[in-house]
């Protein structure tokens, strides 16, 4: 989980110039579930950048485009680099997800700007070798929240075995004038997936409720 490449160091200083205060990377390796060992541990990872809100002190009519173009691609690079190191490269990565939490002085739209445009999403998708839309969560928070970031398959979003979340804690962030931007990924499906898939589902609709109450 180290960033040894010179390029990463360069992007880290660039990140700092753009307001990044901290980056943390969480790798979770689950070896057993329901009391049974997994044949292969499932590894989930998330990388979190804590940065100054680029639009701190601006109003709801502020154009967000220019700063989004400056900041979001660098965040995408910083975060995906760490996911790739944590999980062993893009071929090992099977799912992805993203999130943004804006501090209490910011707008939800500020969080959205940094993850919901091509300047972030397209780069994350390309660098992790995916083709699907990236699932997400976003919101506003005091520092120190717990949050769950959804993940689904990077090329086939409908693969139910891969629906999962990574559970994160963000110590001391986001401050009121900050934003936390998160990219996440995993190298496998849920432990012991066995709830079928769209191909195996029977037809289900509300008629199933009829006759339940007498």
């Amino acid at each position: 989980m180290t960033s040894q490449a010179d390029q990463s160091t360069t992007f880290a200083s660039l990140g700092h110039q753009l307001g990044v205060r901290r980056i943390f990377t969480v790798l979770q390796e689950v070896r057993e579930e329901g009391g049974h060992p997994l044949d292969r541990p499932v590894r989930q990872a998330a990388a979190v950048a804590v940065l100054s809100n680029p639009w701190s002190g601006t109003g709801v009519y502020q154009d967000l485009g220019e700063r989004t173009r400056d900041v979001a691609p660098v965040l995408a690079k910083l975060l995906t680099d760490r996911l790739l190191v944590a999980l062993g490269g893009k071929d090992a990565i099977q799912t992805f997800g993203k999130a943004a939490l804006v501090g209490t002085d910011g707008e939800l739209e500020h969080a959205a700007a940094l993850i919901h445009t091509p300047y972030f999403g397209n780069l994350v998708r390309e660098m992790l070798g995916g083709t699907a839309i990236i699932c997400f969560t976003d919101g506003r928070s005091e520092p120190g929240p717990d949050l769950k970031v959804p993940l689904w398959h990077k090329t086939t979003a409908g693969l139910r075995d891969y629906y999962q979340t990574i559970d994160l804690h963000l110590p001391d962030a986001p401050h009121p004038d900050e934003i936390c931007v998160i990219a996440a990924a995993s190298d496998g499906p849920r432990p012991f997936p066995r709830i079928g898939d769209r191909q195996t589902d029977p037809d289900v609709d509300t008629t199933i409720l009829k006759g339940l109450l007498s």
Partner: protein, 183 residues
Amino acid sequence: MRIRKVTTIVEEILGEGGREVDPTARVAVVAAVIDNPWAGEGFVEDLAPGIDAVASDLGAVLAPRVMEALGAPLEAYGKAAIVGIDGEIEHGSALIHTLKFGNHFRDAANASTLLPAVEKRGLAGATFDIPLKHFTDATIRSHHQTTEVRIADAPHPHEIVIALAGATRGRPQQRLADLSTER
């Protein structure tokens, strides 16, 4: 020893107090979630057999992972034991307050001091703070620091979370006078 889950956290601190931190400070934590060796046994007077069965193996799993995650020489370190609510705090203390556990970390980090620790009982997802001190001289004030951790979904009532933490340097922007200047 069964390990249900291993969590690794690497923090890179690029700025603090509005100024750049150069070189970037790195803090790494590796936590293992294990079954409490004394779960369901009531009050066990002699903890030594359980310690012998688990503590050294645990240190051997965690120490190299912290060093790898840190990716740079270690200058400060600490440890943690968070016991699920069916266990005793003494169970966690038993596993971390033994040379059989800590020496793995000291050897891997070329360290010599005792590891500062947090021991507490908590629900799954409890937040805890791991204290870190300098790896060869625990009086070096610049290296007193703390890292905040929460392991999702652990410890369950019959489990224990055991963690090691390391840092590549003292506090970001540390600027307190040395202890000796107050004497």
